[in-house]
């Protein structure tokens, strides 16, 4: 590159980058540029071939538009105040989402925000303030969401809003009661499964999984080549998905499209074939599982009022012919089969449907019947499981040691000192605000124990104030939660006396705030970060990458406009509240970065000065690396030997056990038997129920199409959508017509024809909850009766701003999805149980 250019390192949610700057402007962003000699690729030998990754990193697609996102047309550049908001007079909460904004100075903005915080804490206590972060828009340990935000808010004794496990609900609330792994929030370990699959697996069943699109969360496209290897090796693939997904397109496998909501029935019919034909691992089932007899009775129809789960029965439910179900079951049993049921093993749209717990539990039960953990028999998302050094510890944003409010490097562990015990829950936050009360089960992410899911939280909690102020960091939930017209109503409630939103870009929620604070991106500040390592409940997530890459995130340009780093914003607010010393401990952002770095294992071999100077560090795979495939230890009756450090039984006398009550795979769940013995929905043995909103519902007569809204392909949830013109120009991401970029709505030619809809028509997707416009994509990739339109667009663009229920033309399909939870005792969201109708717009 030109010698007038300077290169800086940085990290994104889709991989490490090199940022080139000339004359104070970013001119290009490339995948991490380091000498090839620094890469020490691993080699896996399988079938007489050697497999090694390229000496390079493969970013997630939208990250290639990082330069365009940095100076986005949707950047927030100056503090803003809603024109009809007066903290000393009329606040006009009913106009949130309607009224425009005026620019104000930072001084005025900080005065208003700190003034409101002071007024509320003085009058009602810290519990009257709530706040919540979005995910995925930036990266770093010092500056990202669980850093300064959490430190500051806890210093105020705020009421946190607990996340729901939005992408893997059924696994969190269901599979945990079958095989444990609550410390991974229900998703199975994935260590060394790439090698196991290459060496031992003969067939991969992708069930509700599109790893080429969801990419193991943060690992960019590192695993794309792995799946090419499987294809070249001739490993048979089957895709069970109502959508002919992108991985199916890339791997050209057999497509079996079930009706949404019927996946559990399909799984049960597979078990039926195995039981009646005796083609399952009887020894494993006898030794490693419990409750199989009850399960068998349910499958065979000896219980459940004689309803046998035959392939013919499942064919009625799913639309997949019985013969195909039978053939799949036999092929699965006769071949060493890996079940790829979600991008990290456990995720997938089927777990976000009514009773999605039962599907996730069935996935575990099926693989248990085939000897889960034996060579080639795994639950593997096809995005993780590369060889890696998992002993070298480095801080990650979601783990306590990576958070400046909790880490041992902090003198004041402010995030642990919050006196407020009151909690809110993201899925019912609108109800809690609107009704002033709410109760919910569990603590959001229940990673501490199985029982944590059974705890009942009551809001407002005795001795606490209802919340009156909402400090929103990010603005994605209109596009990622369910039934999101209720978020509009919530924002307009007078129960919220003050709303502040802090973000880098305008997102769907931003313009519901009274005051908007412009934050800078991590290209405009210093930090440190490891690729893909979120920490927390996904330990060692770097195994989704071909290399462990740690980067000194270097400020490439000055913050755009008047935007400031999170740390600076919270420092300025702390100062006005007389808490600056408490908040900063005298540390600058770089001081924190250095402290975090020096707390890591990497600092033992590479000094801070060396790292700071060089800008990156690649953690090599040790020469004597020993593969420890996930759950092999369990199948072979050994102590757990994987680097799943969250497993509480590691190193104890129960190290051979799983995290269930019995320590075995539970076809009949002991934990559910104890907590909810009479629950017929998430029952002791997995059970099938027709969806409360599906093809059997009364509502189907009025709305005869099933909408599925999976995670999107060309944006990371809302991040990168509607923030870069380049991504918006990808014709599969948004479709231009009449000068507007519309969200694609995919439907089958038969459904299109019946409604006189042609490809490219602007169509209205609607039900009683909402109305969304988009561009019709007429395609064979969805079956008749199914509509596919991705969730997580960043654009909410109502025709009547501020009016709940207004038709939206931004593509915010979450306006249509139901509020109803997975089942009676399972507070997870079920966006894929959604009935709609579609018609041509403007006709």
């Amino acid at each position: 590159m030109s010698n007038q250019e300077k290169m800086y390192f940085n990290m994104t949610n889709g991989g490490p980058i090199s940022v080139y700057v000339k004359d104070g402007k970013v001119v290009r962003v490339r995948p991490l540029q380091v000498p090839e000699s620094e890469y020490k690729p691993w080699t896996i030998e399988a079938g007489g071939k050697k497999y090694s990754p390229p000496k390079a990193v493969r970013l997630s697609p939208p990250v290639h538009a990082e330069r365009n996102r940095l100076d986005s047309y949707n950047r927030i550049l100056r503090p803003l105040k809603r024109v009809d908001f007066d903290p000393k007079g009329e606040r006009n909460p009913q106009n949130r989402g309607k009224s425009g904004y005026v620019e104000i100075s930072w001084d005025e903005a900080l005065d208003i925000v700190s003034g409101e915080i002071k007024r509320l804490t003085d009058t009602y206590g810290g519990s009257s303030i709530t706040g919540m972060t979005s995910s995925h828009h930036n990266w770093g340990v010092v500056g990202y969401k669980m850093g300064p935000f959490s430190r500051f808010m806890n210093m105020l004794n705020y009421t946190p809003v607990l996340d729901n496990t939005d992408s893997w609900e059924g696994w969190h609330w269901g599979a945990t009661h079958t095989y444990g792994f609550y410390w991974r929030l229900g998703m199975p370990e994935q260590f060394d499964l790439l090698e196991d699959v290459l060496k031992n697996t003969e067939m991969v069943v992708f069930w509700s999984n599109d790893p080429d699109t969801t990419r193991g969360t943060y690992s960019g496209q590192e695993s794309a080549i792995w799946r090419q290897w499987l294809k070249e090796k001739g490993i048979k693939t089957v895709f069970i998905d109502p959508f002919y997904n992108y991985t199916n397109a890339a791997m050209d496998g057999t497509w079996l499209p079930p009706r949404p909501g019927s996946d559990t029935a399909l799984a049960m019919a597979i078990a039926y074939v195995w039981i009646t034909e005796g083609i399952y691992d009887k020894e494993y089932v006898a030794d490693k599982t419990q409750g199989f007899d009850e399960f068998k009775d349910y499958i065979l129809g000896l219980s459940d009022n004689g309803r046998a789960k035959t392939p013919e029965w499942a064919a009625e439910e799913s639309g997949i012919p019985a013969r195909k179900i039978r053939a799949l079951a036999r092929e699965w049993a006769s071949k060493r089969t890996s079940l790829s049921s979600g991008c990290r093993g456990g995720e997938g749209g089927a777990c976000r449907t009514a009773y999605g717990t039962e599907w996730a539990r069935m996935m575990v039960c099926l693989q248990a019947m085939q000897g889960l953990g034996k060579p080639g028999v795994s639950i593997w998302g096809a995005t993780m499981g590369a060889p890696a050094d998992s002993t070298t510890w480095f801080p990650a944003y979601a783990e306590p040691r990576g958070q400046m409010g909790k880490s041992g490097i902090a003198k004041n562990k402010l995030s642990l000192m919050n006196q407020t015990k009151q909690r809110l829950f993201r899925l019912t936050l609108p109800e809690a605000i609107l009704n002033g009360k709410e109760d919910f089960l569990g603590d959001g992410f229940c990673g501490q124990s199985l029982e944590q899911q059974f705890k009942r939280n009551i809001y407002p909690m005795e001795g606490h104030s209802p919340v009156k102020m909402f400090y929103r960091y990010g603005g994605s939930f209109m596009g990622t939660m369910v039934d999101t017209n209720k978020w509009v109503k919530m924002y307009q409630s007078e129960n919220l006396e003050f709303v502040v939103n802090q973000d880098c870009w305008f997102s769907s929620e931003t313009k519901f705030a009274d005051v908007i604070l412009p934050a800078c991106t991590n290209l405009e500040r210093n930090d440190i970060g490891e690729w893909a390592a979120c920490g927390g409940y996904t330990t060692n997530a770097h195994i989704g990458n071909n290399y462990r890459v740690i980067v000194r995130q270097q400020k490439a340009v000055e913050p755009l406009g008047e935007s400031k780093s999170d740390y600076e914003i919270f420092t300025l607010l702390s100062d006005r509240l007389g808490m600056k010393e408490l908040f900063t401990e005298g540390n600058s952002e770089d001081d924190w970065a250095k402290l975090f770095y020096e707390s890591s294992d990497v600092a033992k071999t590479v000094s801070w000065d060396e790292f700071n100077q060089k800008g990156y560090h690649l953690v090599p795979v040790p020469d004597d690396y020993k593969s420890t495939p996930s759950l092999r230890w369990y199948a072979e009756g050994r102590d757990v030997d994987t680097p799943d450090t969250g497993n509480p039984k590691r190193g104890t006398d129960k190290a051979k056990e799983l995290g269930t009550y019995s320590g075995k795979i539970e076809f009949a769940s002991e934990s559910l038997k104890k907590a909810f013995p009479d629950d017929t929905e998430r029952s002791i043995v997995p059970s099938f129920h027709a969806s409360w909103e599906g093809y059997d519902s009364e509502l189907f007569k009025q709305y005869p199409l099933q909408l599925i809204s999976p995670h999107p392909r060309f944006s990371f949830h809302t991040a990168y959508d509607n923030h870069t013109t380049w991504v918006d120009e990808i014709p599969l991401h948004r479709v231009e017509k009449n000068g507007y970029r519309w969200w694609p709505i995919r439907l089958n030619p038969a459904d299109a024809k019946a409604r006189n809809i042609s490809n490219g028509d602007i169509v209205e997707l609607y039900n009683d909850r909402g109305s969304v416009l988009g561009s019709a994509v007429v395609t064979e990739r969805v079956q008749p009766g199914v509509i596919h339109s991705y969730a997580s667009g960043a654009k909410y663009d109502p025709l009547v701003p501020g009016k709940p229920g207004s038709t939206d033309r931004g593509g915010c399909v979450t306006l249509l999805t139901p509020s109803r939870m997975l089942s009676k005792n399972v507070p997870g969201m079920a966006p894929n149980s959604c009935l709609v109708e579609i018609r041509k717009w403007g006709v």
Binding site: M1, S2, V27, R28, V29, R30, P31, P54, A56, R58, L59, P61, P62, H64, A65, E66, R67, N68, D212, G220, Q221, E222, A224, I225, Q228, Y244, Y246, N248, A249, A250, D252, T254, W255, L256, P257, P311, E312, A322, R323, K324, R326, A327, L328, R330, E331, F714, T725, W726, V727, E729, I730, P731, L732, T779, E780, R781
Partner: protein, 282 residues
């Protein structure tokens, strides 16, 4: 002197659009004179990825075809351009001169591949330069090839047998093809696995409807009855014949011991899902 080329293996392309975005990153708003003036902020796709969907029912196939300047031997664009406005360098890269080509909108329509774009503000036709300015500065690859996650799009020196493009061309020898060879422009971008029509179907036994008819022999013949290939149905009773000639007539024979054989005449005007083919028990 190197002779640069690009190879694209459609079998490996996942339609991720990384090439599309990386190309924009390199050129939008960035002048790289003398080989390229800045690309405007919207509307240009110097490399675009075309989605090709074929088939119906559950026999669907989707391919992605990256399309960029083919850096042709015989330049259709040059025919309508003033002298020197478009030229082919010794290394094979075709460049539209950002100064001499000013005002020459005819080049946009002259390109049969539709990969020349009009820059309204600069009054200039523009297209892929194979990142000539980077290569001239000593870089080894183009931005599109650099970001391809599967090695579907590779770049390099055609005269260097160790270059990624030469390795791909050697590996795919005999299967290489040009995009739209009928244009006759002699492209120097090579493809493998461009979408072709297929004929697929599922075989069923009339008397064993609850089972898939796996292992059944299915034979594909040309219109004269000459056998082209035969296959056995898989565990689902499915079969597919790939890489057929569009618009040709074919005959599909299905035979199995104990069943009356089936014969179907098929015209492959597009990919065909023959649906369920039921073999009647004798």
């Amino acid at each position: 002197m190197a002779r640069f080329g690009i190879g694209i293996d459609i079998e490996k392309c996942t339609g991720c659009h990384s090439c599309f975005l990386a190309c924009k990153d390199e050129f939008v708003g960035n002048d790289h004179l003398p080989t390229a003036a800045a690309q405007p902020h919207g509307g240009h796709s110097w490399i675009r990825v075309k989605e090709v969907e074929q088939g119906s029912g559950t026999k669907v196939k989707v391919d992605y075809v990256p399309v960029l300047c083919q850096h042709c031997n015989s330049l259709a664009c040059a025919k309508v351009a003033p002298e020197g406005a478009v030229y082919r360098r010794a290394d094979g890269i075709v460049i539209i001169d950002p100064v001499k080509a000013k005002g020459c909108k005819a080049m946009v329509d002259a390109c049969p591949y539709g990969v020349v774009y009009w820059n309204q503000d600069a009054d200039l036709p523009q297209k892929c330069t194979m990142c000539a300015h980077m290569l001239d500065a000593g870089e080894k690859t183009t931005r599109c090839a650099e970001v391809c996650p599967t090695g579907a799009l590779v770049f390099g020196d055609l005269d260097d047998v160790t270059s990624p493009v030469s390795r791909m061309l050697a590996e795919k020898a005999g299967k290489l093809e040009a995009l739209k060879p009928e244009f006759g422009t002699g492209p120097s971008v090579c493809y493998s696995g461009l979408p072709k029509v297929f004929i697929a179907g599922e075989v069923l036994f009339s008397n064993r409807g609850s089972e898939c008819a796996s292992g059944v022999k299915v034979v594909l013949k040309d219109a004269t009855g000459k056998k082209i290939e035969e296959t056995l149905t898989d565990c689902f009773g499915d079969f597919t014949f790939r890489d057929l000639e569009t618009n040709e007539g074919y005959v599909v024979n299905v035979e199995h011991v104990g069943y009356a054989p089936l014969e179907l005449a098929v015209r492959a005007f597009a990919s065909q899902n023959l649906g369920e083919l039921v073999l009647k028990a004798k």
